[in-house]
């Protein structure tokens, strides 16, 4: 897999794929919760930056989950 952003998009979509069969209403919070719980802040920052740049490649449920997560997350600074 090529760039770091591509890799994170791939991982996020993989998570999205698992929750997809539970239907939109469960999938969106499920995806958001999973990323909140298991991703390191630098990974979250990078995917949010990708989201701000248009979120190319993100599946719709994932895009929605990340948008809602970004609003509630308060990430500490890098240092």
């Amino acid at each position: 897999m090529s760039s770091p952003a591509d890799r994170l998009v791939y991982m996020a979509n993989q998570i999205g794929m698992f929750f997809k069969s539970q239907g939109h209403d469960k999938a969106v919070p499920g995806i958001a919760d999973h990323i909140k719980k298991f991703w390191d802040p630098r990974m979250k920052r990078a995917i949010f930056a990708h989201l701000d740049a248009g979120g190319a490649g993100l599946e719709p449920n994932v895009l929605e989950a990340l948008t809602s997560l970004k609003q509630t997350a308060s990430l500490p600074e890098a240092h």
């Binding site: 991982m11 993989q14 698992f18 997809k20 539970q22 719980k37 390191d40 890098a78």
Partner: protein, 957 residues
């Protein structure tokens, strides 16, 4: 300290709860029905002379030494084969019995060498003991007659004499000392289940014969050591005993190899190990062992062990040996320097699933509290992290549900993606014993493993294509739901009914049927339906699974699917059933319990929880970071991006064990400080700047937690050869980094763990010494631990059904890479082989081989033993081919025990969606004939040689 003598009761314990009372030598004895008179007498403290009886195998009644007299019964029955009855009056000693026994011994000794003083068993020989017990003073028959003892008799070659068989690297077989009691044969059958030994011939011609009169090494013998343990004479003796002599003291400790966690007696002379003998009271192994734990401990004093700390500025410099203080301050300066330059989160560490709970706890504490971040992970990431996720989602806790004893009550065992005969051999033996009693076995595995067919075992085998676990397990659920085999009462009582209904509707869809999925999975729908029916209706159904389940892009999904299956059939919450992950390394369970994952503190509590963090912050006196840290694959990615620049790796070889070696090399090369803490200069150390020598499990105190959650003591039997136990090394490094941790003994670390972890509050060294072991969780609710989980209800409350949609991995076969590679282990080697390659075990497995089906081999012009090039999208390597139909057409298989094979150059970056556990088990590959090592192997080997140089010590001034 003295030698721990275990009582041999002569025959196995009866499990009956009906009690029987009889009189033996004037004493009233009450024992369970089914007990032998021999065992009842031993219970009362009267030892009846015996040779062919031992309590590890069933009574046989061949030596006639254990005869007794029973009032009102004619003759002199053998006490080993005569069961107790109410009211019997037994005499174990009388003039008649004395005479009979002396006669028996006289015959035995007339055909036995009298070299007792120079015999390897001198001091530990039951024949010698019995000669003494019966008062044998004379052998009237002489020693001149027909015999098995002398190579020549009366000047002629003695055809009955056989030379010693020294082919096995660890024990010898001396037929001249054999009394044909057949204890070895029975141990091989009843305990190990291999059936490698037999008695050939009849009467005087009877001989113990490995296979068809083969050598031990050339036979099917798996060198578990059960026969050696069973042998009452010097016929089967450990070579170490012959070389060193009898041990003088012993200490009970826990094996440091696989997740079974066998208890052993380390039998010692001073600080030298004479032999390791499985401990009968060990509740995981019940007195059994495998070749690794029993014999393969020679690596602990292998010449390649590094005993002095070493440092270097750059990885192409030679290593420089330094003092501990110098190594610590060098490492600390580097790590703190990185944090100043790149930020607090730019360093991290990896805890070891081979080290003790206490050591693992300290490493995660150093990282969270000393480094000030949560960049801690462990090798469970690359093996059982999907278990952690899947079982905690469905059941509420990530642990396996049963103890190993549970298998004795199992009626149907399902093994998915595991090969216990190779990877968890002592558990496999216990399972096979149950199968020989009539339990059924279903094996779901791409390969026809040793479990599928072995003596008296024939499994229903579902040979699926690698990567289709979710489809197969969901199809099993489809059959159970659509054929009305759900245990509705259980589900209504224990699980969330609405979630169940949703799940049942999902799996019942026609697209999940065995017939519809066969095209993906390659599994015969008839066999799959049969398997589902047997599991759902065959009595107690237990699922055991391994890395063939977890190491996939849908690893967590399969774990969830398995949990769904167990809940739907009510196979949870009592002995004989359950969902049981077979853990790879000795302390995988423990390292997870100890908070080795970046998102959770000890006891599986998420780092974002304020209350939990408060508790740790108060005791550790630091502020903790509430955000999860990096997982191992994320660390590598971050290193390549330049945000993760320093790592402390305790007791793991991530370069050899992690997938896509080139990616790992790039990540390690990018880091500014790699600290490796290990016994040997492993592959990761080729990229390290600091090497801290480790100590072996024989050299330290602590605890391991095995796959059945059993916490057992590891006890120090010798001083650390490197001068410090591993926990002391971590404390030293922490101190140099300005973070003080004060403990004088590992028991104090366990006390801290117990104080901070609700599931550990009942654990202490005092309790472990008293009870031998306890199973997690151990607290006020379960003061002696928890053998079976989820009794009466799930840890999370209601069991949670979750739908499991099959999603094919993106690692696909195609014209360029038409075959699927899957990987695994073999019996004699362990993990990356760092330990077992440094023992005589290499006689069984000197190199990794590529198993390929005859059809695929023929198409490519590959013959058995040829070098082949194995190529994937990630890389290529070469190794030799073994042509076999154990694998299906289209599937190839290899092991990853040898660094020169570099199986992980081939594996890819794909990983489990939930946990990033790498997808080791599916790689699309192509195979072509080759002349020898690839360019990558050559350059890797050159770099490794260059990197391992140690500068000669400077002359003292």
């Amino acid at each position: 300290m003295s030698l721990i003598e275990e009582i041999d009761y002569g025959t196995p314990r009866s499990k009956s709860s009906t009690m029987v009372t009889l009189t033996i030598d004037g004493n009233e004895v009450t024992v369970p029905e089914g007990t032998s008179i021999m065992r009842a007498a031993m219970d009362a403290g009267h030892q009846i002379p015996k040779l062919c009886a031992t309590d590890m195998v069933d009574a046989f009644g061949s030596c006639r030494l254990c005869v007794v007299e029973i009032e009102g019964r004619a003759g002199t029955p053998a006490s080993c084969t005569t069961p107790v009855m109410n009211g019997l009056v037994v005499h174990t000693q009388s003039e008649k019995l004395k005479k009979l026994r002396k006669g028996v011994m006289e015959l035995y000794i007339s055909d036995h060498p009298l070299d007792c003083l120079t015999c390897g068993a001198n001091g530990d020989c039951e024949l010698q003991d019995m000669a003494g017990a019966v008062g044998l003073r004379d052998v009237r028959y002489g020693y001149e007659g027909e015999n098995h003892v002398f190579a020549k008799s009366h000047g002629e070659i003695n055809a009955a004499w056989m030379p010693k068989d020294e082919s096995n690297p660890y024990f010898t077989y001396d037929p001249s000392k054999c009394i044909v009691c057949s204890r070895c044969v029975r141990a091989c059958e009843e305990v190990q289940g291999t059936f490698a030994l037999t008695i050939s011939g009849r009467g005087f011609d009877s001989r113990v014969s490995p296979g068809m009169s083969e050598s031990f090494l050339g036979s099917e013998c798996v060198s578990c050591g059960a026969c050696v343990q069973a042998c009452p004479t010097a016929t089967l003796t450990e070579k170490s005993v012959i070389e060193i002599g009898q041990p003088e003291h012993s200490v009970v400790t826990t094996c440091a190899y696989c997740g079974v966690g066998c208890a052993f007696k380390a039998e010692m002379r001073g600080e030298e190990v004479v032999r390791m003998v499985p401990y009968k009271d060990g509740k995981a192994n019940r007195g059994h062992s495998c070749v690794k734990g029993r014999f393969a401990w020679g690596y602990t004093n292998h010449k390649e062990r590094i005993l002095n700390p070493m440092i270097r500025e750059r990885i192409d410099d030679p290593w420089k040996e330094v003092s501990w203080d110098e190594a610590f301050s060098f490492a600390a300066a580097k790590m703190r320097g990185i944090q100043q330059k790149y930020g607090r989160n730019a360093i991290g560490g990896i805890t070891s699933s081979r080290c003790t709970n206490e050591e693992t706890y300290l490493v995660q504490k150093l990282i969270r509290a000393g480094f000030g971040n949560n960049n801690v992970d462990t090798c469970a990431r690359v093996c059982h992290s999907p278990t952690g996720y899947g079982l905690s989602q469905t059941f509420g806790t990530s642990a396996g549900t049963q103890d190993f004893d549970s298998v004795e009550d199992t009626d149907v065992a399902v093994i998915i993606g595991a090969n216990p005969a190779s990877a968890h051999p002592v558990f496999a033996s216990r399972l096979k014993k149950r199968l020989r009693q009539g339990a059924k076995l279903i094996v779901i595995d791409p390969r026809r493993t040793e479990m599928v067919e072995s003596p008296h075992v024939k499994a229903l085998h579902l040979p699926l294509l690698p990567g289709t676990n979710v489809a197969v397990v969901t199809a099993l659920a489809h059959v159970i739901v659509t054929e009305g085999l759900v245990n509705e009462a259980f589900v209504r009582e224990r699980c969330d009914w609405a979630e169940f209904e949703e799940w049942a509707a999902f799996v019942a869809q026609a697209k999940h049927s065995p017939e519809a999925t066969a095209i993906l999975t390659g599994v015969d729908p008839k066999d799959l339906r049969e398997a589902a029916r047997v599991y759902a209706t065959g009595g107690n159904g237990a699922i055991y699974y391994g890395l063939g389940v977890t190491e996939h892009s849908q690893g967590s999904t399969t774990v969830i699917a398995i949990a769904n299956l167990a809940m739907a059939t009510g196979n949870i919450g009592r002995p004989g059933v359950g969902v049981n992950p077979l853990r790879g390394q000795n302390n995988v369970q423990g390292s997870c319990d100890m908070g080795s994952f970046p998102h959770e503190l000890p006891g599986y509590r998420h780092i974002s929880g304020d209350a939990v963090r408060d508790q740790f912050e108060a005791l550790w006196n630091v502020k903790l970071n509430p955000e999860p840290g990096l997982r191992i694959p994320n660390m590598f990615d971050a290193a390549i991006e330049g945000t993760f620049m320093g790592i402390y790796v305790q007791g793991e070889d991530i370069l050899q064990s992690d997938p896509n070696t080139k990616h790992v090399v790039a990540a390690l090369s990018a880091m500014e400080c790699v600290i490796v803490h290990d016994l040997f200069l492993n592959e990761t150390a080729n990229y390290a700047h600091v090497f801290l020598p480790g100590s072996s499990f024989l050299e330290k105190d602590g605890t391991f937690t095995n796959a059945e959650r059993r916490i057992q003591r590891v006890r120090k039997v010798m001083s650390p050869k490197n001068g410090m136990a591993d926990w002391e090394v971590t404390i030293g490094l922490a101190k140099a980094m300005g973070f003080e941790m004060n403990y004088s003994h590992p028991s104090e670390i366990m006390d801290e763990i117990a104080a901070l972890t609700p599931t550990f509050t009942g654990v202490s060294y005092a309790k472990l010494d008293e009870l031998g072991s306890v199973q997690w969780p151990c607290n006020e609710k379960a003061p002696e631990g928890t053998p079976v989980m989820h009794i009466g209800g799930f840890v999370r409350g209601k069991g949670k059904f979750i739908v499991t949609e099959y999603v094919a991995t993106d690692e696909r076969t195609g014209p360029r890479f038409p075959l699927l590679l899957t990987t695994g282990r073999i019996l004699s080697q362990y993990n990356v082989g760092a330990q077992t390659r440094r023992t005589e075990n290499v006689v069984w497995h000197a190199e990794d081989l590529l198993e390929i089906h005859p059809h695929d081999a023929e198409q490519r012009g590959v013959r058995d033993g040829d070098w082949v090039r194995l190529t994937s999208r990630a890389g290529e390597t070469t190794l030799r081919a073994e042509i076999t139909d154990r694998v299906s057409p289209g599937v190839v298989y290899t092991t990853f025990h040898h660094p020169d094979t570099q199986a992980n150059v081939i594996t890819t970056d794909y990983s489990d969606w939930a946990t990033n556990c790498p997808e080791y088990k599916v790689t699309a590959v192509q195979i072509s004939p080759s002349n020898g090592p690839s360019d990558w192997q050559k350059s890797y080997d050159e770099q490794a040689r260059h990197s391992r140089r140690i500068a000669p010590a400077e002359a003292a001034e």
